[in-house]
């Protein structure tokens, strides 16, 4: 553990800095924009999961009064884009590959006209066989989603570390399980949208509910339009929830292309059904696990086989699959592992990242499997975990450097708080407790490699103090509602010495703000927070230097407190902060850049990918109705290692919200794809937890003071969602003896599993 610096603001329990504007409804979300003369943009989406396009005729739509532009393969760009693989075009060229694929788009004076125009577009299709099962998408004669990709394999890899066969040969016990996770949506309440405005000089401004303004500019708009990235200004609007789903947003491209073609501003706002069927929901995956243990519970080796469902286009799916494949091996001391992973194209919307970036799926499978192993070994599941966890200072088999680790303390807390010792004695009668742990990257070095030869990943911040003594923090990193604006304000207030409430953190604007990759990979608190800390130190230095002139003292003799600066030991020799700023012309601006730690992995995926790592252990207590199969989660307790808490109220909110999202994911949610059609395309079929469904969530933070984090802080929001589904599944197992291996845990599945146990399988 690094030294714990005494703080005044960091660790306090305070409201969000932008809370008030949100409770009175003045926050401007993307749907609240109303540019003068703005046109309505809509897409014509494929009604078929897989078909060849024989003809696209947009002539009647083009001649409809009120239509400004119609784009399709006939006149749109043919260039491909994609962060990991470039396999996606703006509009379908030869084929449609999922229901929802963009065939054409229109911009018209109003929505009614735009809808009428869509109906006038004629498209002739030749239907093709639907690839809807990744397990049978290989081999001779199989239909190909992309003709140039044999066997529908978007990506695959094989990683072996150590002598796996020898480990299994020497084991006292081995275990085997197959798991499956389903297609589930981020289900933010605000549907996705973007607005684009072309300027007479050829430049373009885009507003949108985006997790990363810079990624949209660099990986999507610039390559497709051929524009200089510096001529594209992307301004973030505060997202009404995102959870991973608003990282790679094609609506930005649609708005941009339509606006450029029409020469007028265009709104491109998705309806909820478009959002639920044509975005990038959480990747479904089949995970087969084998493990080898010594009789005393020492883990000797693992065999992992993964078939992940890519959907129609790749986006970030190769990286997500890699995360699913490798991550849990770094939570326990794993001497040997063999991993086979395949990413398979199918005719469904592209799968993508949701909070956890694959780790929710991986953790569900491995932590359920480990629970089974504990039973087989006759060892308490908590003990088995405690005997195998990584510790601070470990170098894992994949090359991860564990700089701080509080997972064992979190596990002891979670077990105690759920009443483990007493309640584990019971079980089998419909009530049970279960537990699961997780490791997550914190400040993953994600995109540097994709951008070019350098592996450096910078994040910068600027802090501007104005003549009223108020401050704005400019960062390329984004607040999605997860509270990163408050985290930045806390850090800056701590360093500079001004009150937290004097700080504003406006949304990202690539046109004027410093660079940052945005909100994913638990980057913001760690990478963005470090950048803000350096910028704050610079700002404080400039402020003190200016104050030294005013107060005729040396900068190191000065004290900033409240909104005043005084000479230490001479309280009467003081001045207001704003007077100091006015004395130097009305503004003080400090800046700073921080480079993410970690390394780019080698070709065998070996290396330390992230600056550092966060941990958590959660326990759940459930009641299972043995006659109906309905699962009620009675309580979740969450022990978390966030390095150090920056804003306690915000941290609690992340843990409560994350655990509830995971409960909702594993018990209620399912996009229910069937032969390429998503059936749950609204909020009465796609059920997310309501106020009546949620259990109480208790929490405790174990501060390990990470050497790389600002004040020792690490990421938190993703560790909050990773282990909950496994903890609930393990609790169901304890309550009923039935092991649920497929998500979601519907009453039908629970009942079937209970019946299996009863019939003695």
């Amino acid at each position: 553990m690094s030294e714990r610096i005494k703080t005044r603001v960091v660790g306090a329990r305070l409201p969000y800095v932008d809370g008030v504007e949100k409770v009175v409804g003045t926050t401007q979300f993307v749907g609240d924009f109303n540019l003068p003369g703005v046109l309505t943009g809509l897409a014509l989406r494929s009604p078929h999961p897989h078909a060849r396009i024989l003809r696209v005729d947009t002539s009647r739509a083009e001649s409809l009064t009120g239509v400004h532009t119609v784009l399709s393969r006939e006149n749109g760009p043919a260039a491909k884009f994609g962060i990991n693989h470039q396999d996606e075009t703006a509009f379908c060229i030869d084929k449609v590959r999922y229901i929802g694929d963009e065939v054409a788009a229109v911009a018209a004076v109003d929505e009614a006209t735009a809808r009428e125009a869509l109906e006038l577009i004629r498209v002739e299709y030749e239907l093709l066989p639907v690839v809807d099962d990744p397990l049978s998408a290989f081999g001779e004669g199989v239909s190909l989603v992309h003709e140039n990709v044999p066997n529908n394999l978007a990506s695959q890899f094989h990683v072996t570390r150590g002598e796996v066969d020898a480990a299994f040969g020497a084991a006292d016990a081995t275990f085997e399980d197959d798991f499956h996770t389903h297609l589930a949506h981020q289900a933010y309440i605000e549907p996705t949208g973007c607005v684009a405005e072309p300027h007479p000089d050829g430049r373009l401004t885009i507003w949108g509910c985006l997790q990363s303004a810079f990624i949209i500019r660099t990986f999507m708009i610039a390559p497709i339009t051929g524009m200089d990235p510096d001529h594209i200004r992307v301004i973030q609007t505060k997202p009404g929830g995102a959870f991973g789903g608003k990282l790679d947003v094609k609506a930005a491209l649609m708005a941009a292309l339509l606006a450029r073609a029409a020469g007028k501003p265009v709104n491109f706002l998705l309806s909820l059904d478009e959002d639920l069927t044509a975005m990038r929901p959480r990747m479904p995956v089949h995970i087969s696990l084998q493990s080898a243990f010594r009789a005393d519970g020492k883990l000797l080796g693992k065999r992992v086989n993964i078939v992940a469902e890519n959907g129609a286009y790749s986006s970030l799916s190769p990286a997500i699959m890699s995360s699913i494949a490798l991550r849990t091996d770094n939570l326990y001391r794993t001497p040997t592992v063999d991993i086979e992973a395949k990413l398979v194209y199918t005719n469904i919307c592209p799968s993508g990242q949701m909070r956890g970036f694959g780790n929710v799926q991986a953790t569900f499978a491995w932590e359920s499997h480990l629970d089974n192993a504990a039973v087989g070994l006759g060892i308490d599941p908590v003990e088995l975990r405690l005997n195998n966890y990584v510790e601070t200072g470990d170098l894992t088999l994949h090359g991860w450097k564990i700089a701080s680790c509080g997972v064992a303390d979190a596990a002891r807390y979670a077990a105690k708080a759920i009443g483990w010792t007493e309640k584990r004695q019971q079980g089998g009668k419909g009530r049970g407790v279960g537990l699961a742990s997780t490791i997550h990257v914190s400040g993953n070095k994600g995109f540097a490699v994709e951008l070019g030869p350098s592996d450096k990943e910078p994040s910068s911040a600027v802090i501007r103090l104005d003549s009223e003594g108020r401050a704005e923090i400019w960062s390329g990193e984004s607040d999605l509602g997860q509270g990163s604006a408050s985290v930045m304000a806390f850090i800056a207030a701590e360093v500079i010495g001004l009150p937290v409430e004097d700080f504003q953190v406006p949304p990202t604007d690539t046109g004027c703000m410093p660079f940052g990759f945005g909100a994913f990979a638990s980057r913001i608190t760690l990478i963005g927070g470090n950048a803000v800390k350096i910028a704050s130190e610079n700002t404080r230095e400039l402020l003190l230097r200016a104050a030294a002139d005013v107060l005729e003292a040396a900068p190191e003799e000065l004290l900033i407190e409240g909104r005043e600066i005084s000479v230490k030991g001479f309280p009467a020799r003081k001045t207001k902060v704003k007077e100091v700023i006015r004395a130097v012309g009305g503004a003080i601006e400090g800046s700073g850049t921080w480079y993410a730690g970690g390394e780019v992995l080698d070709s065998k995926k070996y290396g330390n990918p992230s600056t550092t790592y966060s941990f958590s252990t959660q326990a759940a207590e459930v009641e299972v109705d043995m006659e109906t199969g309905i699962v009620t989660v009675l309580k979740v307790v969450a022990g978390h290692d966030p390095g150090r808490v920056i804003n306690r109220l915000g941290s609690e909110g992340q843990v409560e919200g994350g655990a509830v999202q995971a409960m909702s994911y594993c018990l209620m949610e399912n996009l229910s794809p069937e032969k390429g059609r998503i059936r749950a395309d609204n909020f009465h079929d796609y059920l997310i937890a309501t106020s009546l469904d949620v259990p109480p969530v208790e929490h405790e933070f174990f501060e390990t003071i990470d050497p790389h984090g600002p004040y020792g802080a690490k990421g938190l929001a993703e560790t909050a969602i990773n282990p909950t589904a496994a903890a609930i599944g393990n609790a169901i197992f304890h309550a009923t003896g039935a092991r649920l291996r497929s998500l979601p845990f519907t009453p039908e599945r629970v009942l079937a599993a209970i019946d299996e146990v009863r019939s003695g399988y």
């Binding site: 932008d18 997202p239 909110g653 409560e656 655990a659």
Partner: protein, 156 residues
């Protein structure tokens, strides 16, 4: 298409608009500039568009604007503003019951509807009243805390 001239009183101000027969109250209010009324599912599932209609909370996406002709509408801004927060709004901020803020206007309306008729609700009564307002960020716990605290503040 049939056009209707409607008159509404919104947050105390008389307003009028021309709407189509099929225009929902939600869309009419937003086109009249009341952007504090949020639009998401447009099917009565999420509660983001909740407003008071003649004192009763309704999902404004589930009725036609023409049906609201002559009615009094209160949106979240009619409940409280930056300068004069309602206790429910203040407590939602203080207790951490807001994250992204998109569902919050609807939550404030539902909470006020509850406290108007029941100044001392139990936790279960709060949970029941909010069942029509989806929140994806908070897990609801801190919203419950806020409504309990607001109820206490109003009673005193």
């Amino acid at each position: 298409m049939s056009e209707h001239r409607i008159k509404l009183k919104v947050n105390g101000e008389a307003e009028s608009a021309t709407v189509q027969g099929h225009t929902t109250l939600l869309r009419a209010l937003r086109s009249m500039g009341h952007l504090d009324v949020k639009s998401s599912c447009e099917a009565g599932d999420c509660g983001a568009c909740a407003v008071f209609l003649d004192g009763e909370p309704v999902n404004s996406c589930l009725m036609f604007a023409a049906q609201a002709n002559g009615c009094e509408i209160i949106t979240v801004r009619g409940i409280g503003t930056e300068e004069s927060l309602h206790p429910i709004q203040r407590q939602i901020v203080e207790k951490g019951g807001v994250q992204c803020g998109f569902c919050t206007p609807g939550i404030v309306v539902s909470a006020k509807a509850l406290l108007d008729k029941n100044p001392n609700p139990s936790r279960q009564e709060i949970r029941r009243e909010l069942a029509g307002n989806l929140c994806r960020c908070t897990g609801y716990q801190k919203i419950f805390d806020a409504i309990e605290a607001a109820a206490e503040e109003i009673r005193q």
